[in-house]
């Protein structure tokens, strides 16, 4: 069970710049740390984040080992039409998590 938190305005005026926020629970284990017995803790990170606005990619990011646990992203897009925003995270093994929010543009 992975918790995701999204912040998307419910409504926006056409062409307004809106702020989007996304937070996901993930250890972002860098692969450089060692456990109490000296063993290497295997790398386990999210490598890709994408935000799709009605299926169109409006923001993406590649993640690397130096990103902290529970990564938090804040970014902006232009409200062009009412639709669905999908937020999608993919880890190094190809596992994905996603959540959606709807925006109505007036």
């Amino acid at each position: 069970m992975t918790s995701i938190r999204l912040s998307v305005p419910q409504t926006a005026r056409k062409d307004e710049i809106i702020e989007l926020k996304a937070l996901i629970q993930h250890p972002m284990e860098s692969g450089y740390r060692r456990g109490s017995r000296g063993e290497q803790i295997p790398r386990n990170i999210i490598t890709r984040f994408e935000c799709l606005y009605d299926g169109e990619l409006v923001f993406s990011a590649d993640f690397h080992p130096a990103i902290a646990a529970d990564p938090f992203l804040k970014f902006y897009t232009r409200a062009v039409r009412s639709g669905t925003l999908e937020f999608r995270w993919t880890d190094q093994h190809g596992e994905t998590w996603s959540d959606t929010a709807s925006l109505s543009v007036t």
């Binding site: 938190r5 937070l23 646990a69 938090f72």
Partner: protein, 258 residues
């Protein structure tokens, strides 16, 4: 001239060489300050932003667990409605049925066993942290108000005793750091008064939410003492003393701490 006996002279020498004697007085109620006030402005801002504060990932998960059924068991919500506003601020507290002192984790596990016929959750498991953080967050802003009389009195005394006892290779007590030296620097940190009002808290060092017992284990390990197990009755007694010395301080869980 007064001649000291050899034994007395030795005692005087030992006294002169040992660290300055410490007091055994409790933190004055008027001085009580949350760990929040010792944080940098950036860390405070992270705690205050209920979206960016990653502790809410656990609170959300706890809310979902609270409202859902596990097998045949009634959900927490079926007995407790929307929640338990203010309850966390009164813990640890005595369980009327058994007379045992329970902290919030213990109370939640007690409900699982007694009312849901489910096994206890492991201490420090994500599910128990999530439920604890959810219930504690419903007391955010509520002043701590624990009772230390009646059946709680012996627990309070044990907890106070633990707080004032020097331990570990460094031979330091909680009291020496958190009553006598708060506000001073220790390595890269400012020593706070050691209150538990923010727990379960998200520690940047842990990169995760953790319980008060995890924090206390870190302090015990810091003076090179053997930490107690999670949920150890000695830590629950200590937790009662910590809460009582913070009576009146507002709850902040899920707080952010360094």
């Amino acid at each position: 001239m007064i001649r000291l006996s050899p034994v007395l002279a030795f005692a005087a020498l030992v006294a002169a060489c040992s660290p300055s004697p410490t007091t055994d007085t409790d933190l004055p109620a008027a001085d009580v300050r949350s760990g929040y006030t010792f944080l940098t402005a950036e860390t405070q801002a992270m705690q205050d932003d209920s979206f960016a504060n990653p502790g809410y990932l656990w609170v959300d998960r706890g809310a979902a667990l609270f409202g859902s059924r596990a097998g045949d068991a009634p959900s927490c919500a079926s007995c407790h409605g929307e929640g338990l506003t203010g309850a966390a601020a009164t813990y640890p507290a005595i369980d009327a049925a058994t007379g045992d002192l329970l902290n919030l984790e213990g109370r939640i596990n007690q409900c699982r066993i007694r009312h849901q016929n489910l096994p206890a959750l492991d201490y420090e498991s994500d599910d128990l942290l999530a439920l604890t953080a959810f219930v504690a967050s419903q007391s955010a802003g509520v002043p701590i108000s624990v009772s230390t009389d009646g059946a709680a009195a012996p627990h309070y005394r044990n907890g106070r005793d633990y707080f004032f006892t020097r331990r570990g290779q460094f031979n330091l007590s909680c009291h020496q750091c958190h009553d006598e030296n708060w506000g001073k620097r220790l390595r890269g940190d400012t020593i706070s008064q050691g209150h538990g009002n923010g727990f379960p808290a998200y520690r940047l060092e842990w990169q995760a939410l953790g319980s008060l017992h995890r924090r206390i284990r870190d302090c015990d390990a810091g003076v090179r003492a053997e930490p107690k197990a999670f949920g150890d009755p000695k830590y629950i007694d200590l937790e009662l003393y910590l809460s009582s010395r913070a009576n009146g301080l507002e709850m902040e869980s899920p707080a952010i701490r360094r």
